[in-house]
């Protein structure tokens, strides 16, 4: 109830605020944001929320389309062959880099142009509330003394990468166990099979609020605003942090006016009070990157990921 009121209120505000801004012309009338996530999935819910606020500011109708299949490969192929006029854009997450590197699809991230970044999803290390580990150091010490059992939701994921990095950085003996998604992982953390798991705050919320799990450290560069007591892994003395990005990419050769329109609109939408309340409640961290910075970021991210996949023998 509260929420629908909030939405009604905020969309009214958005409409009101939109009037003077509509003067800004976006080259096309309708922008389709393509996601590889299925309806109701994480990226899908995020995009639909975003599109509500983005439309008026951008000066175009924003719709969301789900192009599922092939872990993003289908969506990448679809986008790479779309017109480069800003009418179709792809919602990027690290998945599109992983899929490109893992399976060499016909169209990969190289065939797309990164546009801008919106958010970083903070990744955290958590343990069961009933476990004896109070700090990250306790967990590392346990692994140093014997053998650690750490878990990540999926085999080819940033979460696993972060645990492998932590393992290499600390030089301890730990089994990094992968799962078929966050639910599987959560069960094995809750029943004590694993000492720690890695996940996004968003996914952990239910358990966190119920006090079933405890956060030990965040894998971010700075502490998370909503959880100021949780130290970063870097503070614990291990130089590991990851950036799970959420941004947009388009077909190669996006025109300059499209890029400029997005560079103007994104900081504006991120600053909207009503939208801010929603994304902060979901523990998303606004991290706008303009076009040039985002291009460099994606290139660097891809290089690091490729190194990781090679060093763990996943790809040759």
């Amino acid at each position: 109830m509260y929420r629908s009121c909030l939405l009604a209120f905020s969309s009214a505000v958005a409409m009101f605020a939109a009037a003077p801004l509509q003067a800004q012309e976006y080259p096309v009338d309708t922008v389709t944001l393509v996601t590889h996530s299925s309806p109701g999935g994480g990226s899908d819910v995020f995009l639909r929320e975003l599109s509500r606020y983005l439309g008026p500011i951008l000066g175009a109708t924003v719709v969301v389309e789900n192009v599922t299949g092939g872990s993003g490969a289908t969506a990448m192929a679809n986008l790479a062959q779309s017109p480069a006029d800003g009418s179709r854009l792809y919602a990027t997450t690290p998945t599109f880099i992983y899929t490109s590197l893992l399976s060499n699809p016909e169209y990969s991230f190289d065939d797309l142009d990164p546009l801008v970044n919106f958010f970083i999803d903070p990744e955290v290390i958590f343990t069961a509330a009933s476990s004896p580990y109070e700090t990250l150091e306790d967990v590392i010490q346990h692994a140093r003394d014997g053998r650690g059992r750490w878990g990540a939701a999926n085999p080819a994921s940033l979460e696993r990468q972060s645990l492998e990095l932590l393992k290499a950085e600390t030089g301890v003996n730990a089994a990094v166990v992968t799962h078929e998604g966050g639910g599987d992982l959560m069960i094995n953390v809750l029943n004590g099979t694993l000492e720690i798991g890695v996940g996004e705050i968003q996914e952990l919320k239910g358990q966190l609020e119920a006090g079933e799990i405890r956060l030990l450290a965040s894998l971010t560069s700075d502490r998370i605003e909503a959880y100021p007591d949780v130290p970063t892994v870097q503070e614990a003395g291990y130089d590991v942090f990851v950036r799970k990005f959420r941004g947009l990419a388009g077909p190669q050769g996006l025109p300059d006016d499209v890029i400029a329109a997005w560079e103007r609109a994104v900081p504006e939408v991120l600053a909207l009070q009503e939208y801010k309340a929603i994304y902060e409640a979901n523990s998303l961290r606004a991290e706008f990157m303009p076009n040039e910075e985002y291009q460099a970021f994606i290139t660097e991210f891809a290089t690091e990921t490729e190194e990781f996949l090679r060093s763990t023998g996943v790809i040759e």
Binding site: P39, G70, S71, A73, A156, V177, D184, I187, G313, V314
Partner: protein
């Protein structure tokens, strides 16, 4: 008790009544379409729920799930093609009964058993969520591995005359299950550079190919008008005597279904196969199974309907979806800003009470809609074969295409149909293939995950008492059925030798 009282007022809420009825009707239709799984049926509705009131939206989706689990049995009985994975076991006796002209009774038993299974599942969900959630938590990777092995031990029952052929068929399913992303390392296996194969081959495509496509091929290859089936388009519920006989398989089905429903990742398919197996083991007429036994419909249909309710236990208590269908339902919750998990019961108790009431309405609605729709279904399959077959072909082609909008999937289904056609000629059973396909990933990923956990120490499977127990039971099942088969073969030999001797 409080839970029931809290739910009562919602039974009069029009939005919930309407959502439940629309959901269950849509679900039966979706479940009855071969190729459209319960999760796709639900996903198609998801966009409409964005603007709905939260409780009605959740009720709509959950009712669709219940309807779809029931709907899957309709084509299983009528056209020998399970509409959902979990209805595969119903094909065995359901289609046999249809061939004997008892389609009305078979559908009646399935509806009646689905109702019983759903009601027991709902009662458990409402009253025992807490202890049941504890069961789900007790299962570690070795225990899941053992559960998968126990499921595979059913192969012996499903193999029919030749155990070797059954094992070959199962192996085929297990092999297909290895295609896709490696569950532990994340690298690609047997994808041959195709991004369409990255996510693996979904069981539904193989099932539709094996059952429906190969049936169409087989009928097309026969010249004369083949075995005309004429059933009266009337639903018959079991009489008192038969209802009494069905109590045992239904209780077995409800028990196994509730257990598997609570376990994330196990799901309705294992439940229906295992309950079929158990119903046969404990039946007073085990020889009837596979030849049109009413018990062979009652057990799996009670089981897969019980799963539809109890699968909500891990979702509501932990926020953990155990299957694709419950993952869509989770999406439905998230869209409305509701976070399933321990806090849901405190923070949004009204949604939970509304959901329970909605499920109750949906289960009753399932019987009403079933009675209204089934005679039409029987009438449809009584049409002349050429029309019916053309209709089925159009139905499965569009169904498979609509899953991802991909022609590649249609190709997979057609290939499976061709393989199925030759399996028919060579008299290989299909069900072991389905079982291997569904369980292969569960067994492999948990086997390897256990070894990663233990550092390649195999005692991990015997140190976990649940794993040890399940593996022991599986070993007993396998040994038992081998001994039974050997004894039967020996008796045959002896009889043969005796008759030869008397002649000579």
């Amino acid at each position: 008790m409080d839970t029931i009282l809290a739910s009562l007022p919602y039974l009069l809420e029009p939005s919930i009544l309407i959502a439940a009825m629309i959901g269950v009707t849509w679900g039966i239709l979706g479940g009855a379409m071969p190729g459209i799984s319960p999760s796709i049926t639900m996903a198609l509705l998801l966009p409409f729920t964005y603007t709905m009131e939260p409780t009605a939206a959740i009720v709509l989706l959950a009712s669709t799930y219940i309807g779809a689990e029931y709907g899957g049995s309709v084509p299983a009985i009528l056209i020998r093609t399970p509409g959902t994975n979990a209805a595969a076991a119903t094909v065995l006796d359901g289609y046999e009964m249809n061939k004997q002209g008892k389609a009305g009774l078979a559908l009646g038993i399935s509806l009646y058993s689905g109702f019983i299974g759903s009601m027991i599942g709902l009662a458990l969900l409402m009253l025992l969520s807490k202890p049941l959630a504890g069961v789900a938590l007790a299962f570690t990777p070795p225990a899941y591995f053992a559960l998968g092995i126990l499921g595979l031990s059913v192969i012996a029952t499903l193999s029919g005359d030749s155990l070797v052929k059954g094992l070959i068929a199962a192996l085929l399913g297990l092999m297909v299950a290895t295609v896709g992303t490696d569950p532990v390392t994340g690298s690609n296996r047997f994808t041959f550079g195709s991004s369409d194969l990255l996510g693996g081959i979904e069981p539904v495509m193989i099932m539709v190919g094996l059952f429906a496509m190969s049936e169409l091929l087989a009928q097309a290859s026969k010249r004369d008008d083949i075995n005309k089936i004429r059933s009266r388009p009337k639903i018959e519920f079991p009489g008192r005597h038969l209802a009494k006989r069905l109590i045992r398989p239904q209780l077995l089905g409800a028990g196994i279904g509730s257990f598997e429903g609570v376990m994330p990742g196990a799901g309705g398919t294992i439940a229906s196969f295992m309950s079929y197996n158990e119903a046969r083991r404990w039946s007073s007429k085990p020889d009837e199974f596979g030849k049109g036994s009413p018990e062979g419909i009652a057990a799996p249909e009670t089981a897969n309907n019980a799963v539809a309710e109890t699968a909500l236990v891990p979702l509501l208590s932990f926020g953990i979806p155990g299957s694709n269908s419950t993952a869509i339902l989770l999406g439905g919750f998230l869209i409305h800003g509701l976070q399933p998990g321990p806090m849901l019961f405190q923070r949004s108790a009204d949604v939970i009470s509304g959901l329970y009431a909605g499920l109750f309405v949906a289960i009753v609605g399932m019987v009403v809609m079933g009675l209204a729709m089934l005679p039409i279904c029987i009438w449809m399959v009584n049409r002349p074969r050429p029309y019916l077959n053309a209709f089925i072909l159009a139905l499965i082609l569009s169904g498979i295409y609509s899953i991802h909008g991909s022609l590649f999937d249609v190709g997979i289904m057609l290939t499976a149909g061709l393989v199925g056609f030759f399996m028919r000629i060579l008299r290989f059973p299909f069900l072991p293939t389905v079982l291997g396909l569904v369980l292969g990933y569960l067994v492999e990923s948990n086997f390897r995950r256990s070894l990663v956990l233990s550092g390649d120490d195999y005692t991990v499977f015997t140190n976990d008492w649940i794993s040890l127990g399940l593996l022991t039971v599986a070993a007993l099942f396998i040994a038992g059925s081998i001994i039974k088969r050997a004894a039967a073969a020996w008796r045959r030999d002896e009889r043969a030798a005796f008759s030869e001797g008397s002649e000579g």
